[in-house]
């Protein structure tokens, strides 16, 4: 009888443990099947993105060097500043950032909807059209067929190819969302689905070709700022909201705050673009409304900053080990910085100095590189080994990539912020000859070129590593490629 009793107690426990193991196994199998469904499209987008990253950053360094050597490559129209700079902007925005973001979205949507990727074949067509569009548009810009509107320089046929590719990409994501196996949408999914609604509308409206004069300028500023608002920022925030809690192993600090942040973001961000035209020939109320909305962006930015910081707090030691976490946390910190800077920059008295100076270029790079690209790098360090089934070959190379990228962007932003401000003050002084203003900026422009070159170096290292993973070459690892091995109490490593 005592023996029987003992078995009665033991059996349910054993059964419970067994069920727990089964559930874990089932979840792991599901996750592997989801990753399998997204593997080829995601890797296709990532590989294209890495290619455009190299091309775009090469154009960027060439653009910067032209400030140091104005006559360099000046003999041929193709390589003049007016063509190389838009080629840099468009290859980075539509090539690198968009395609890497698309890859991350494909993988994240399958995982967060707990559904295999639907209509996956559409992504092959989408990637082909998108890449042809970026290639044709870049060649057209270099050949002198730019439309002359910032971030809309691609001719209509190239823009149409990208738009068609985007619609195919969006159709697959929307169908995956429709077939989802979860009731509640995680906050990353809110950002992803909203961007699929917002960005096509923005792109189509901006490319209607029905604007002239001042209205065209207003549309251009509205488009430029909203490309960040409706596409690039949602990508970055979706990644940060997923990878920070996932890597740390701790739920986001306040889920409520996350959703408040999303709706405040949706409400305020799309009004911001017109603050670029302070002092321009537009109705004053229109510019003022934009400035107010820009300052109100403090609300969603605070929500994101507080949430991410309080999720990471007490876990900062993990930044010593995890490449993904380090890139994503740096990106998230840059988001807070660039957003507060943006709110400040929209104010009229601030713009009196900073507008039309190198300060703005530093701000733009803090956003697109410090925030978005760093999060995309972090996302790729997490996703690629899981899809390629091959770990990153060298922690040392990841370290080199991180430090060259982060030191490069730090030098770039600090130099242009200081140099741009001094340039603005000097330009506002009517007693200062223009050539003196130019001479004043020279050291800062050298720092800009060095910063850009550091970033390009990091990209070359990253691309080489990516190539090795795709080829399954290099040293074969059976443990995660961390910056360093954590102490047993700290990391909970298991291989």
């Amino acid at each position: 009888m005592p023996r029987h009793k003992k078995n009665d107690i033991a059996a349910p426990n054993q059964e419970f443990r067994h069920k727990e193991t089964d559930a874990a196994r089932a979840d792991k199998q599901l996750r592997i099947s989801l990753d399998d469904s997204a593997r080829t499209p995601t890797m296709l987008y990532f590989a294209s993105a890495v290619f455009w990253l190299l091309v775009g950053s090469l154009f960027g360094v060439m653009t910067s060097l032209k400030f140091n050597f104005p006559d360099w490559l000046g003999g041929d129209a193709v390589w003049t500043f007016g063509r190389i700079r838009p080629a840099h902007l468009n290859t980075i925005m539509y090539g690198w950032a968009s395609l890497a973001g698309a890859g991350m979205i494909v993988w994240l949507t399958a995982r967060l909807c707990r559904t295999p990727l639907q209509l996956g074949w559409l992504h092959y067509l989408a990637a082909i059209l998108w890449n042809i569009g970026v290639l044709a548009g870049t060649i057209a810009i270099l050949a002198g067929y730019s439309q002359g509107l910032e971030w809309l320089e691609f001719p209509t046929f190239a823009g149409a190819l990208i738009a068609a590719g985007f619609l195919m990409f969006a159709a697959s994501i929307a169908q995956t969302f429709r077939k989802r196996n979860v009731d509640h949408l995680y906050v990353s999914l809110w950002y992803i689905m909203a961007s699929l609604l917002w960005f096509p509308l923005l792109y189509v409206v901006a490319n209607l070709g029905i604007y002239q004069g001042v209205v065209e300028a207003a549309m251009n500023c509205w488009y430029g700022h909203n490309a960040l608002a409706t596409w690039f920022t949602p990508i970055g925030l979706a990644g940060a909201y997923y990878f920070i809690p996932k890597v740390i192993g701790r739920p986001i600090y306040s889920y409520y705050l996350g959703l408040i942040g999303f709706w405040a973001f949706a409400l305020f961000y799309n009004w911001n673009g017109i603050h670029h035209l302070v002092g321009g020939p537009l109705p004053t109320w229109l510019v003022t409304v934009s400035i107010v909305a820009s300052v109100m962006m403090v609300v969603p930015v605070m929500a994101v900053a507080v949430n991410h910081h309080l999720t990471t707090v007490n876990h900062f030691r993990m930044l010593r080990y995890s490449p993904t976490l380090r890139f994503v946390v740096v990106g998230s910190m840059c988001y807070t910085a660039v957003s507060f800077q943006g709110s400040l920059e929209s104010i009229r008295s601030f713009q009196e100095v900073a507008h039309f100076t190198h300060y703005t270029i530093g701000h733009a790079h803090l956003g697109v590189y410090g925030f978005l690209s760093m999060i995309l790098f972090g996302a790729m360090y997490y996703i690629v080994p899981r899809l390629a089934k091959w770990e990153w070959p060298s922690p040392r190379m990841i370290k080199l990539h991180f430090w060259s990228a982060s030191m490069g962007i730090l030098l770039y932003v600090v130099a242009l912020t200081i140099g741009g401000w001094l340039q603005g003050l000097a330009m506002n002084d009517p007693a200062t000859p223009f050539i003196e203003v130019v001479n004043l900026t020279k050291p800062y422009l050298w720092a800009r070129s060095i910063g850009g070159t550091l970033m390009l170096l990091g990209h070359c290292v990253f691309a080489y590593q990516f190539f090795l993973v795709i080829k399954r070459a290099g040293p074969r690892r059976f443990a995660p490629a961390l910056f360093r091995e954590p102490a047993p109490m700290e990391g909970g490593i298991s291989a």
Partner: protein, 76 residues
């Protein structure tokens, strides 16, 4: 006063966009996306039984069972 065609097109698109945003918000209310139950479990959606809360996911790289063939390398 006649409305320029460009303004008309943009206003129509803006109204469609606004309607879509409103319908998205109504859908969220109807499907109880903001209910206390949903919000309480929302933050845990990135975790599951095999990648639970409390376990750092970047610290794990599981070598494949079939190490010997040199081809498969399962990281999940």
């Amino acid at each position: 006063m006649t409305l320029p065609l460009a303004a008309l097109i943009v206003i129509i698109i803006a109204l469609v966009a606004g309607a879509l945003a409103l319908s998205g918000f109504i859908w969220a209310i109807r499907t109880k996306q903001f209910s206390i139950q949903h919000l309480n479990k929302g933050a845990y959606l990135v975790f599951d039984e095999s990648e639970p809360v409390g376990q750092s996911q970047d610290m794990i790289f599981r070598p494949a069972a079939e190490k010997s063939n040199g081809k498969s390398h399962a990281a999940s």
